[in-house]
Amino acid sequence: MNLIKLRKWWYILSLVIIIPGTLSLLLWGLKPSIDFTGGTQLEFSGTKDKAKLEQVAKAQKVENFVVTVSQDGLILRTKTVDEAKQKSLKTAVEKDVSGAKQTRVDTVGASISQEITRNSILLVFAASAVIICFIAFSFRKVPKPANSVEFGLVAVTALLHDALVVLGIFSLLGHFFGVEVDPLFITAILTVIGFSVHDTIVIFDRIRENLIKGSYDSFEDTVSVSVYEMLPRTINTSFLVWIILLVLLIFGGSSIRYFVLALVIGVLSGSYSSILNASPLLVTWQELKAKRKRA
């Protein structure tokens, strides 16, 4: 089995996953949680029965709410609900949750400022630029015709691939299953990006070493051998991280389920892209360069 020879198929598989996700991102975007949008906050006194309130709210078709237990009652935060719904919710809660009395209804603003969201997006691009520069510097000794800037650009392509996979899948999940993205999701995306670059660089390092040694005939062979040499390591580390994540996913409780899911998808995608996208892309790039020279 030659993984690099099959590269066309790996690209296609990536596109099959990324295109629907990206379309969904463009069409529907992500479903932001109340931390980003603000909404309605209802306060109830006379009860601390969180589970019961959650049950009633669900029965009233209030979606994606957060209930906090406070010193003197419960606070329910949810997306903006209209007055009719507020009234029916109030009646239902006061009837079904024993002792509950609604004390306040507020329209509340976002707790995560747009600045933080915007900063995170800008920082991903800033990080990409810095990564390209660093790799271009660190890989400057790769022999011609390969060029260290290519390594940097390809590593960042893999990074964006992984971010897009997770964002796309969550956009689809949001549209079809009402899954929201909360502040933890931003952390998950950043984690995935960190993991992805880490993974890619380790393989690129081996390619660099083998290129400098120069014991293989072609660029493609060198990349191919390097990927094979690094396979046990890539599989083992990803496997280790998956173990921890899977255990968290199964036992970790519902409030962090989507957070862990984002990490599981991202780590999977990170290993996939570093072996089956980034390394083959280096080969494709060299081929294109050679073709253009000949033409």
């Binding site: 237990v69 580390t237 968290l248």
Partner: protein, 470 residues
């Protein structure tokens, strides 16, 4: 055997650090006591002073791992906003800048990861502040509520009253706490921006020999006499401050004045947003994960896996100690950073071990192979970790919970590198020259033994992939 002695020094340093870290990790500190009755009459021993209660050695720490709002809950403070002086068209922007100033103040005060949001009910505006834990609430409240309007006023012609100048907190560039050289009293040193410097120069110029009053929230703080025109934009606010007051004031001035006055309306405690059950399960899951990872490493890398597990234990002890020392607020985001850094530190091990096995497969004996393994794996470990640290450094600017995540991840990466390259390596070196390591089975290396005997390997997850293609 110079290198052997060096390694013993390395191991000793490691043990000392391990003991220190354990002392920090242990809840409430460590006390070594002798049983009281026997020694109670004797006051001291030749080398050790025994205290009356028999305590030999006492290392107290009141360090705790701080948990964020999502993990432990905290205080929920509601402020009403007095919008009476704000035109109705400007109220929402005033509210937004109010939120930002409050966030800045709390962050500068060091209570990490507060949640601040605004609320509206008809014509009533509110700001809700949630702070993790309840320990620092009172002091945090002191910082949040004050308007911190800074004003410089010059004396009137008759010298009996002051009139406001056009210089105020808006022209401030930064402020910090400094100490008087002779009395040691704290004062606040302020630096004006370009515009402020110019104004300050003008004002001091026309007030030489006269007092210049500094007002904070319309209260006179001090009114020093101007001796000469001051250029350069530096000024001092002296007054009867305690150190804490000076610090708070400096934070407030740096974050800017509140655009609208606010008043505390409600204060209550809230429970963790993530349910206790969920947190408990996550911790159990984390421990379970670490155990499974260790078992896998031992199963796959055998002897090296044992060392890696020891390294992982060291890693956890050190990280926990650093969390306490740096007072890091642990949130779910931080835990994610921790998990990622465990993954990355295991990756360092895997990279080194794979390299060692590779060198052994090429016929080198263990003593030689493990040195090569550590040295040759270094370039990839260096590059990938530098990139991760660069990302962390950039993320510090994002603010909010992302900052906490970045700090945890960066600490984890650095500790991971140190434990692998000092800790694990020193431990491996202890056994590297023993005879028993010539058995390749111990390292899950296929092919001939270092002694020439064939070595059987039953399990190799990635054997099917590793056959080299021609």
């Amino acid at each position: 055997m110079k290198s052997k002695r060096r390694n013993w020094i390395r191991v000793s340093i490691l043990v000392i650090f391990l003991l220190l870290a354990l002392g920090v990790d242990w809840p409430g500190g460590v006390h070594f006591s002798l049983p009281k009755p026997k020694f109670a009459t004797q006051k001291s021993f030749p080398f050790v002073n025994v205290k009356k209660d028999g305590t030999l050695f006492k290392f107290d720490n009141n360090l705790d791992i701080k948990e964020g709002l999502d993990l432990q809950g905290g205080s929920h403070l509601v402020y009403t906003v007095d919008m009476s002086k704000i035109a109705s068209g400007e109220r929402s922007s005033a509210l937004a800048s109010l939120q930002k100033v409050i966030e800045n103040r709390i962050n500068a005060f060091g209570v990490s990861e507060p949640v601040v949001y605004t609320g509206k009910n008809g014509n009533e505006y509110r700001v809700t502040v949630e702070l993790a834990g309840v320990k620092d609430t009172d002091s945090a409240m002191n910082i949040i509520g004050k308007t911190a309007k800074l004003a410089f006023k010059e004396s009137n012609a008759d010298g009996s009253s002051f009139t406001e100048t056009d210089l105020g907190g808006a022209e401030l560039k930064s402020s910090s706490v400094a100490f008087d050289q002779t009395t040691g009293a704290p004062y606040i040193s302020i630096v004006f921006n370009a515009e402020g410097s110019k104004k300050f120069e003008e004002i001091t110029g026309r007030n030489v020999g006269k007092p210049l009053a500094i007002y904070l929230d319309e209260t006179l703080v001090s009114a020093p006499n101007v001796n000469a025109q001051i250029s350069g934009g530096n000024a001092q606010i002296t007054g009867k401050f305690t150190l804490q007051e000076a610090k708070n004031l400096s934070i407030q001035l740096n974050a800017g004045r509140l655009p609208v006055p606010i008043k505390l309306a409600e204060q209550r405690t809230v429970e963790a947003t993530l349910g206790q059950e969920s947190i408990r399960l996550s911790i159990v899951a984390g421990i379970l994960g670490v155990i499974v990872v260790s078992l896998f490493m031992i199963f796959y890398y055998r002897l090296l896996g044992v060392f890696s597990t020891l390294g992982l234990a060291l890693y956890l002890v050190f990280t926990l100690a650093l969390f306490k020392i740096f007072g890091i607020t642990l949130t779910m985001g931080g835990i994610a950073g921790l998990i990622l850094s465990i993954g990355m530190s295991m990756e360092t091990d895997v990279l080194v071990f794979e390299r060692i096995r590779e060198e052994m497969r090429n016929g080198r004996n263990f003593d030689h192979a493990y040195n090569l393994g550590f040295n040759r794996a270094w370039s990839s470990i260096r590059d990938s970790n530098i990139v991760s640290l660069i990302i962390c450094a950039l993320l510090l600017y994002a603010g909010g919970s992302i900052r906490g995540f970045a700090i945890v991840l960066a600490l984890g990466i650095i500790v991971g590198l140190i434990t692998t390259f000092l800790g694990t390596r020193a431990l491996i070196e202890l056994i590297a020259r023993h005879k028993f390591v010539s058995n390749n089975w111990l390292f899950n290396v296929e092919g001939e033994d270092q002694t020439g005997k064939p070595s059987k390997t039953r399990f190799s997850l990635s054997k099917m992939f590793t056959r080299r293609n021609k």
